[in-house]
Structure formats: C-alpha cells, structure tokens
C-alpha cells in the first residue's frame, strides 16, 4: 500500500464514534509522534513501529481501527510533516478532535482526507479511552461515558466535499481528471 493510499482512501461518515486513544497538550509538534529523525520515511510498517515511542511503548498495539485523537490548542505547530499521521492512520486513527489547529497542519491533513474537528473545550471534557460520538454536520461531539455534549465547528462546504471524497486528490480527480481511464495513485511525500 502506498503512502497516499494509507492516507486518503476512506470517506468520512456523517456520524461516527470512536475511542480516545491519546490526549495531546497545546502547541504539540506532531513530528514528535515518530521522532524528527524519521520524518522522511514512508515505510508504513516502520512508522508504526516508532509511533509514540517517546511517549508510550506499544502505543500502536493498543489502538483499534476507528479510534480518535484529542488535542489541545494549536495542534500541529511547527513544520508538520505527513509521516506522523501516516503512522497514526495505519494504527487505526480515523479523526482528530482538537481545541484548534495550526493552519498548515489543518490544510495538509484535510488534503489527505483526515477529518480534523475543531471543538473548544474538548481536552477538559475527555479522558483517555472515553468514547466520543461525532455528528460533524450538526457540530456535535458527545462523550458517551459522561453524556457531556460539546459544540464543534461545522467545517466549510469545501472541506465537507473533501471529507466525503476521501481527500483532495479524489475530489480533484472527480472534478478534473482526464477522461481516458488512465492514471492512478501516486504517493506524495514531503518537503522540509
């Protein structure tokens, strides 16, 4: 499976739920998820093997398909590269719910089709392994354990289209692709 396939295949359902696999703090630089020495790697197995090494050994093994990440303010601060979320998605993470995002991170992962919800107050309302039910079109995030409901920002229409298409490339391909049936997936990596 190429890096792009890992990061852009699934479309986002209107309502979904998942467990909170980790709660990150504010201004978190996602490159630390795999370690900056590994940000040029697109070997998914390798990225999985180092995922969250600096924080908890065996993290990826505890994550189930469909789990979520929760984060504080300005998640993705710094120069966010793509491999950290390749690792997280390979581990099973399907969405992030954060107080706010660094704009570059938001743009890059939205392109890849990973739903990033803005949900003020979320870090104070969840504990690790809580289950969240997300109804993003209505702007609702519910903590199933506590029953607390938080308001999340309804994403802009274009972002909704990207989520529904499973990423920007599938959307652009649907809108603009050559019509001769040729063409295929191309992995996309990262600059500096």
């Amino acid at each position: 499976m190429s890096a792009l396939e890992t990061t852009s295949r699934s479309t986002v359902p209107d309502v979904f739920d998942g467990r909170v696999a980790w709660v990150f703090g504010d201004d978190f630089d996602i490159d630390l998820i795999i370690g900056v020495q590994n940000i040029k790697s697109y070997d998914t197995e390798f990225l999985l093997s180092v995922c969250m090494d600096a924080y908890e050994s065996g993290f990826a093994g505890k994550v189930q398909q469909g789990d979520l990440l929760v984060a504080g303010r300005n998640f993705g601060y710094g120069h966010p590269h793509y491999p950290p979320m390749v690792a997280m998605r390979a581990a099973g993470i399907v969405a992030v719910v954060a107080e706010s995002y660094a704009p570059g991170f938001y743009r890059g992962e939205t392109f890849n089709g990973l739903p990033l919800l803005r949900c003020p107050g979320v870090t104070g309302a969840v504990e690790r392994w809580d289950r969240l039910r997300i109804d993003w079109a209505r702007g609702q995030v519910e903590n199933v354990r506590t029953g607390d409901r938080l308001a999340s920002e309804v994403p802009p229409e274009r972002v909704q289209q990207i989520w529904r298409a499973g990423g920007s490339i599938p959307l652009l391909r649907a809108e603009h692709a050559r019509k001769d049936g040729h063409g295929g997936e191309t992995a996309n990596e990262e600059g500096t």
Partner: protein, 427 residues
Amino acid sequence: MGMTIAEKILARSGGVERVSPGDNRPFRPDHMIAYDFPGYTDVMFKQMRDDFGIETLDDPDRYVLFVDHMLSHGTAREEEVHAVTREWAQRTGAHYHEGIGIGHQVAAELGFARPGTFVIHFDGHISGLGAFGVLGWGVRRDLIEGWITGQLYLDVPASSRIRLEGEFATGVDSRDLLHHLIAVYGADGFVGQVIEYDGPGARSMSIDRRQSLCGMAMFTGAVSSIFNPDDLSLEYASRVTDRPFEPLSSDPDAEYVRDATVDLTTLDPQVVLPGSARAANTKPVGEVAGTEVQRAFIGSCVSGRIEDIRAAADILRGHRVSDSVELHVVPTSNEIHVRAQAEGLLDALAQAGAHIHRSTCDFCFGYAHPLQPGESSISTGVLNVSGRMGSTEAHIYMGSAYTVAASALTGRITDPREILRAANVGA
C-alpha cells in the same frame, strides 16, 4: 465597511468586488511557487500527467520552480532530483531558477513579488513576500490544486493589525519582535489570521527586516503576514520588475480581530529554547546567557540577508569566533552574497573564523553539516525541534543574527548589546 489589504488582494484574485473573513471560494494566484524536493515536486509532475492528463501549461508564467535544497553533497542523487525539475520546466515553460539562492528571497529579487499580488507555495515561509505588500500563503499539498486547476479554494482569513512604534534599539531586530509577539500572544495568538504590520515603526523598518518578520508568520499561528506598500517597497518592486502592478492597501475603516501596539524601542533580544518557538520556550537573552554552544548558524530564508550579515560583521569584525564554536554563515541568495562580499562583510567574517557558504536551504534542515549528538547550536534558522538540524540529541537555540554572532564570539549565549557597547567604548 472597508477591507484589509489581504482581503483586497484576495478579492482581486477571486474576481469579486469584496470578500469577508470566513468566505470560502476559489482564488487565482498570480504565481504558484515550489522548490524541488524528492517525493514532492517530482510526484506532482507525475500526478499532473498521469491523473489529470496535464502535459503542457496554459499559463506557464504563473509557475515558478526554485532549486535551493539539496545542493551540498555533490552526489548523483542530487543531480537526478534537479534534472527531473529542470526537464519539466523546460518542457512546460515554467520559470526555473537553480542554485542562485533561497527561493523565498530570489522570488523577490526576480520580480515575482509585485505589490498587490497573491502568491502561493507549498512552503509556509513564502509569507516573507508580505514585506512587499504581497499575500504569500503556504498551502501545502493544495499547491497541486492550483497547479491543476489554476485556482484553489481558501477560507478568507481575518486580519489582526500590529501597530509598530519607535525603532529597534542597537542589537535588536525583527526576529526579536517576532519571538516577542509569540511570548506575549502565544504560538496560536493569531491562528488562521493574517497579521498586518503598520505604523511608523513598520514604515521605518528595512525591507530585510520586514521579510524576516513576515517569513516567520506561521509560528504565530497566522497563515501570512503583510505590510502595506510604501515608498521603500514600491521602489524595490519597481527596480526589480518591468511588469505593471497595482499595489493595494488597507482601508482606514477595515476591521481587525486584534489591534495591538508594540514599541520597538522597548524590545530585548529574545532566545528560543530547544524544542519549538512556543511562548514558554521564548526568553529574553539575559535568562539564558552563559549557556555554552559549540555551533552557530546565520542564514535561512528568514535571516541571512544583508542586514543580518552586517549585524554579524558589526559583532565579529576584528575579533575571533571562540575556539570552541564552529560558525557557518550562509547568505540567503547569491545576490546578497555578492553584495556582502563587495561591502567587505564576508572577508571580515572569514577573518573572524566564520565558514562562508554558497546560498542554500541545506543548513536549516540538517542536510549540510548536521549537528552531532550532544552539541548545542544557536541558529537563525526557522525551526528548532529536536533533530531539525542533525542529531535528535543536539540542542538548537534560536535568536537573531546579532545574538548568534555574539554567542559565537564568546562560546556562550550572549546579549549582543554587551558586545556592541564594548565595541563602542573601545572605538
């Protein structure tokens, strides 16, 4: 209700009368820039051809490619990477500039930063073009949307205005202002916004300082930063291009999320502790003075311009870099290199023991002369997360060219004002 300069530029690019923060619609950039990097530009070329059937460009003038990374090893692999880019540019007619400096600077020198225009890049440091009244926006992989369709969807950002008063004290520059803003407002203080610098302090600031300030916008949370055009930036733009351009400026009744004032005269040199530029890591130099460093770097897309090199020469002329420090100086472009040579700055720095290199991005991301485990470096690079400039077991402090040069001189993080004062007393 008036519009900000950023809103006016986007309205023009979107072909509409006006835009408001939060609007989501397609915009047509004047230039769409990239530097070549393996797995990035080469993949975009392939994707355009294979997935979208794009072999030629309708308007190649809008496409600009720079070769500024991976210039230091002299390997076949480097040549292979650049050859792919060169061939694509030759075939499509896109602008191609190899090895003449860091693209974010060369774009200005070559007239791609015309006041009132909208420029995108996958790299966020393109925001440095805001010095010229250009909206420069790093859109990451969405660059390919622009390259394929000629336009891209964006949310119109709100703006905040920072009125600058006074002038920088000796030994203080716009890097210190940038880190001061993060210290005060937080690393997400302007998240998703455009910062507009205005006021007498903005107008008295040199172009170099403006570029440095705008080029670091992302670390404040902002998507870009911009100055309203004035005589200085208009004169620069007119000098470097024959193309017509129509500058835009904010209306007096434009709306801002935040309207803040900073007195430049009160700023102290700032040092960023290893890790990231977030507020908790940002300290006045006095709080970290004395920390030993073995490596020092002056360069990058934000801090290797003539004023930075002059600052370093002011500190180091007639002295020697500490025996325990290796100082690398990398002018941001060849044009700057030539000018620094002509002014005698590079000779002064070389005589002080600095290593002078041809312009490249390679030091800033650890490709050239990577840091070794256990080393501490002080740098004018853009990023200091562990591993950015080499070993993950090295420590990267960041500061202005003044602070880096002063620290290289003593071997310890040093307040540059002490060195400059001593020099004045001795003179």
